[in-house]
Symmetry: D2
Subunit: 308 residues, 4 copies
């Protein structure tokens, strides 16, 4: 049976995100304690894939995930999920807001709900927990020394707790972008609304290195949706760029861009082509569609054969 | 008396970083509970400046800091600090490694020391704390229910605890980059080894927008040391780029680049020019030094005066 | 009294072009036998300026003029003229088409009227002359051994000859572009419809050299209207580019482009800013007008003063 | 039997150039009176090819040739020839320099030998001829009214005349570049020292159009050796670029550049790949050789197959 790992425990945003993009509805969902743990399980074949967070609209990119995917045994993204980060306040049945003296949650969640508590429960003290789910689980099993937990909405059902308040987060638009990765497979067919993720290594930093890379995309009409420079840890001046682009590796313009990057970069790691969750489609300028590429190839063949 | 805020409590990496780059040795150091809190204090004049984390080699960029600096009342960076993230294991005097059954620390630190504990103290359980310093402070004041704390080295002295182990971190090269910001001031004189931080807003996303921006730098020989795209929260397709470049706003090539960006971007926020901690100097290609700019200006003046 | 030289003799297209763009209506017009002769007279002060052909829509660019202006004592263009190359057939009074057995003209004119003669006077033989005016002059003074001359329309009046046919040229759209050059002077004020001529030397040819040069223009929104590469005669791999651009040296975007070129080229020779004969105006993209430059400079001054 | 047309008459620089690059030593050489005539003969099959002048180091590019090749039935270049333009003074046997009172030649040749005559035969008058060969031919057949001819060295042998002086030209480095064109054929195999000629049409002029074109070359490491903008005659703002590039249409980098241009230009006319007369070889940067292209293609195939 198919199984997918995710950053656990059960009842977190990760689990909700995985459910939202699950390729097979009846797959087994396997929680892992850490991002490296989940990815290792996917690499070893212990699970068929793993869902990990890539970037968060409040916290920024998840460097650990980027770095894990950029090195080691290759994995490729087959799905992305955008998970709203909307917190709820959970307690055992019968507990009311007025009863609450202490609240447990993960420090990340605490940072994102501080405003709500200042306004609504100023007297409550906050107890750090190892995850938002752990804070809820301890309420459920009776081991908690606190009165309530700030968790993902999914935790209410998982742990059988009452929801005292919703929209506890200070930023209602907050969301986390997750990716589901597997061992390398041929990409799913292009849908017209696709993204491709890449890691680009430049061997030696020099003015214009990034411009060179971007020109490989721009000359072929390929747009970027995310870029981030990261030190490789290989010493001063060694950088990598983590980028997402519009389009699918089977698109002619993307394929030619990738070959161009392969030639000018110290290394290129392909991290997969996959359907966009937001349904966005690239605005293609003249000359960069697949038919345009096909026509140009046919013309060159004629020229080379002396049939101009 | 001059005072600087920082992300507290005392005894964290933040405090150590602030001490390493303090403009005035006898300044007051004021801990704040949050990055927004420290920045608000700098904006209001409650303190003369604030030190906040900008990026971490393990965790990645600190989105909250980037976003706070990109919006609101302007602040400018006057110093940067690279603080090694090297953890130590602390306990009360007389306690030995063999005595330790539970260890408290911040979840971020837990994630970065997991390998060491698996290898060296596999039997110890981990208790989450609100900060690495809080874990140590509770040991010192006797309120702790745990036997040891994983903290920054500076916490040993601050809280009078014994160091049971050093280099407890799994990644010995881990470090955090902090910046010290103040209300806008004229930049310190250029040193020849400077960085300038910018936030660049593009009004409407389009293929080639990033290339346009980078060309403004490249044509004037200015190299980037960091780039990150971030959604502005202003709706689909609205991006900003957070970039650091080599050079000082008073350098002719940097000044002309900034003016070019000001003309093509929806907005440009200048975040300061400051000395580089790593001492690196730009490799300038022909034609982009200040004397080159000066000569070209003198020539243009002659041409415009009919004295060619 | 002001005097201008031109490529003579009197009665040629050059004279007509000079009259069309004469800065002072009553200036003396002085014919010279050659382009170098006319330019030498302007350089020495023998005349106040000289009109020379730069390019022809049938013959192409006039390499001799380009090369003369690119080297030696500097001269600058103050006017351009587009002279239609429309030939007429001239004879002495009383001569009719049917009488004509031989026709004299300059070989260039012969090449441009061959179709007309094949269709209209197939029996006529052609006698080469040193200029179209010389062919007419000999008719006028009685020294000609031919019956008619193919000349510029202006020659009819100059030499008192009858016009047997007009529009004798095979290409009715043919025209020659002339420039009026003087010793260096401050340019006339910008009109909004101006051109600037430049000679750009690249020290050593390398892939991308031309791209570098064009990027200096493109990044500042300056469009080219003509470009031609020419060997400098300085050995293999040494090139110069002769270019015309839209705009005036006093335009901020043109001035900054020129300074950029001055820094990256081995040498830049400014050949003048002057009103466009065609009245064309540049289509300026956002951010490259003089007010845009002024605003950006004011902003940079504020930033450098710490007043952001 | 193979036959090649050229710009006649016999005894001109054109004939010498054709002999220097003749593909078959025993081919028939057929003189034509004009460039369009020679090209028409090649197009119709009257001859197997035609040699025409393309550019001259003194006169510049030959616009008529460029325009003829840019339009009409396609032709492709199979050879280039660099012909030194070195003039000789010819006379009938027994005539000495002191005897010469009048000299005939083509006006182009007159312009290039004026300095020599001023220094060596100041008393001689110049008689215009329809070609340098015609001036010599009339001496040989006794019809000349002049004493000597300024001609190409080859004319001495062709017309059986004595050489009174060599190196009569004012510019000893003067040379003309000719091309031998045929109806479209598959190009000869690449030699490693090849050139490719192209005509690039841009549909509508806009700032950056030329930059776009050059970027297609630059991103693939292809260098230009010649560029010239020309109006197409199709109305204001419509331009074409006549360019020569280093490399062969069968080179991967050249082929991909051509396809890119085909997609972004209104039209591209391929004018042939042929061996360079000067033996120059391109300096290739990393990543643009044929093996580099082959490796990148193999890598992309693996990626698309899921075998990363």
């Amino acid at each position: 049976m198919t199984s997918y790992g995710y950053l656990g425990p059960a009842g977190t945003f990760s689990e909700a995100a995985l459910i939202s993009c699950l390729p097979e509805p009846d797959a087994d969902l396997v929680p892992y304690a850490t991002v490296p743990g989940a990815l290792a399980a996917a690499r070893s074949g212990e699970v068929d894939g793993a869902l990990v967070p890539l970037e968060n609209s409040v916290e920024g990119s998840v460097a650990q995930t980027l770095d894990e995917l950029a090195t080691g045994t290759p994995l490729v993204v087959i799905r992305e999920a955008h998970q709203p980060v909307s917190f709820v306040l959970l307690a055992r049945s019968g507990v009311t807001l007025a009863d609450i003296r202490s609240v447990a949650t993960h420090p990340h969640a605490e940072a994102q709900t501080r405003g709500w508590f200042a306004a609504n429960l100023p007297q409550a003290t906050v107890v750090p927990a190892t995850s938002t789910a752990a804070a809820a689980a301890a309420l459920a099993d009776g081991s908690a020394t606190w009165d309530a937990a700030v968790s993902a909405p999914i935790a209410a059902e998982v742990y059988g707790l009452a929801v005292l308040a919703t929209e506890v987060g200070d930023n209602p638009a907050a969301e986390t972008r997750f990716v589901l990765v597997t061992r390398p497979v041929a990409p799913q067919p292009a849908t017209g609304s696709d993204k491709t993720s890449l890691v680009l290594y430049i061997g030696q930093d020099h003015p214009g290195a990034l411009l060179e890379i971007l020109t490989e995309f721009a000359v072929r009409g390929v747009n970027l949706t995310r870029i981030e420079s990261r030190p490789t840890g290989g010493g001063i001046g060694d950088y990598l760029f983590s980028v997402d682009i519009e389009g699918h590796v089977d698109d002619a313009r993307v394929g030619e861009s990738l070959m161009g990057l392969r030639r000018v970069c110290a290394d290129v790691r392909y991290l997969g082509s996959y359907p966009r969750v937001d349904g966005g489609r690239p605005l293609l300028r003249r000359g960069v569609s697949d038919p345009d590429y096909h026509d140009a190839q046919a013309w060159l063949t004629r020229v080379r054969d002396g049939r101009t």
